[in-house]
Amino acid sequence: MEISDKQIKKLADYTKLDLDEKEKAKLKKDLSTMLETAKIIKDADTKGVEPLIGVNSNINVFRDDLVENDSSIKNQEQLLKIAPKTKDGFIQVNKMLD
């Protein structure tokens, strides 16, 4: 199963990854090999089989929409401390719109 350069570029766009030529070549090869192995899945007879989404029976687990943590201000300071760049209590990012 050959992966095309066009597919590699599309995937790089989806995953927001920049790859150099060497990485692209290696990924192309590794992906192609894995997809060969995955053929058995593609060809499996799954007529009438329900997908298994989770191995236990938990479905739609909710909690009440209540504030649980009182130290919100302290937490905010802590969270800002680990942001790459901040200004005036906000996380600073590069320009989004031209």
Binding site: I3, Q7, K10, L11, A12, Y14, T15, K16, L17, D18, L19, E23, K26, L27, D30, L31, T33, M34, L35, T37, A38, I40, I41, K42, A44, T46, V49, E50, P51, L52, I53, G54, V55, N56, N58, V61, R63, N75, Q78, L79, K81, I82, A83, P84, K85, I91, V93, N94, K95, M96, D98
Partner: protein, 486 residues
Amino acid sequence: MSLIHLNILELSDKIKNKEISAVEVTRAVLEHIKEKDGEYNSFITVTEEEAIRQAIKVQEKIDKGQLSKSPIAGVPMAIKDNICTKNIRTSCASKMLETFIPSYNATVMDKLEGAGGILLGKLNMDECAMGSSSDTSYFGPTKNPVNTQYSPGGSSGGSAAAVAASQGFYSLGSDTGGSIRQPSSYCGVTGIKPTYGSVSRYGLIPFASSFDQIGPIAKDISGATAVLDVIKGYDPKDSTSVNKQYPTYLDSLVDDVKGMRIAIPKDIMDSPMDEVVREKFEEAIEIFKNKGAIIQIIELDTIDYVIPAYYILSSAEASSNLSRFDGIRYGYRSPQGGNIEEIYRKSRSEGFGQEVKYRVFLGAYVLSPDNYEDYYSQALKVRRLIKNEFDQVFSKYDIVILPSNFYTASKIDELDKEPIHQHSKADNKYTIVANMIGGPAISIPCGFDNNNLPIGLQLIGRQFGEEDIIRAAYSFETARKGCGHG
């Protein structure tokens, strides 16, 4: 016997009997870590001052009688660096999270602290838990303390190595496709992957959310079980946590497997493996037979689906989980300028290693609209087929046993870098079954090869079947000790 070589329950008793203090033992282990970790590289972060502070507080609580029911009070440990520890750097062994300091504890960390655990530091691993050698770590590979030319395995390599090297009396690892059991086997220690949903994942930086479980690694099954009893339990903060009554697993440390129905997959017996591994596995079978267990060979129809289904599903989940790492709110942001798109791309490309990129790519491929039906959707259905088959197996048998790995640890400089090759090894498909079906599994030492490298025996149980595999593991360990295997 030196203080740091005691097992958990022995140490816990000595602390309760005031023969040793928590501070004394913490200092002794920290000294040992300082001495040896330059060589092993088990630790990414050692929290020396915090460990002593914690030890003092824990000793005060012990003196007041507040921790008398805890089997692990005063026992120093370390945890894998993908488990969040409040105010202590949690890196996932990745450049992406090199500077990440969580503002909260993982639930398991809170539980261990509540039981008098003392944190020594954060342990090395494969980057983002993706790998089986611990050599994809941004902080360099961990070495197997049994023989430092060899890999400890992975992804919880630091967790297994630290326990093997007495750099802590137990550790926590995480297991998505064998990442607790395989390194435990390579390092000669005991590791447990609990039933999915029985240990909270709140605070575990996720790799594949429907496979990941946190579990204990210790020198013996009693120690690992004592830790499991502390970390298990329903957590409302984890929506995949199962709300039920969990038994005390320490009660399963009983040397009795009379009548236990043990299955061995037929193609294990036919698979190529190291001759000494085969010998030790056959010895294990004899031990169980002599103790009155009923052993039968079984055939499995869906086993060849396991590895490809695992790769499709875990990579898809990883691809989604890792999309949160964008260089914006925390973690690595590329210093190269640019617009927002360039920040995302450069931060992620510079922050992630090759194996992580590969899995993210594969995941994106199988989730993309043209391929979703053929791969991801199919794999979900195949997962149901595998689970159905093992539900049948566990309706007739109590546990499944096999060697943890068909070969012993690889030499570090011979580690094959090809991701496919590393992961298609025949033994992996059985190891990964446990994650696929959500069942518990243990790896326990069962001997050494001709190079003195450890060999492991794996026991897999039905969901919530920890009592059976723990009892079987304890029986086995007792028999081996009785024969002077140690």
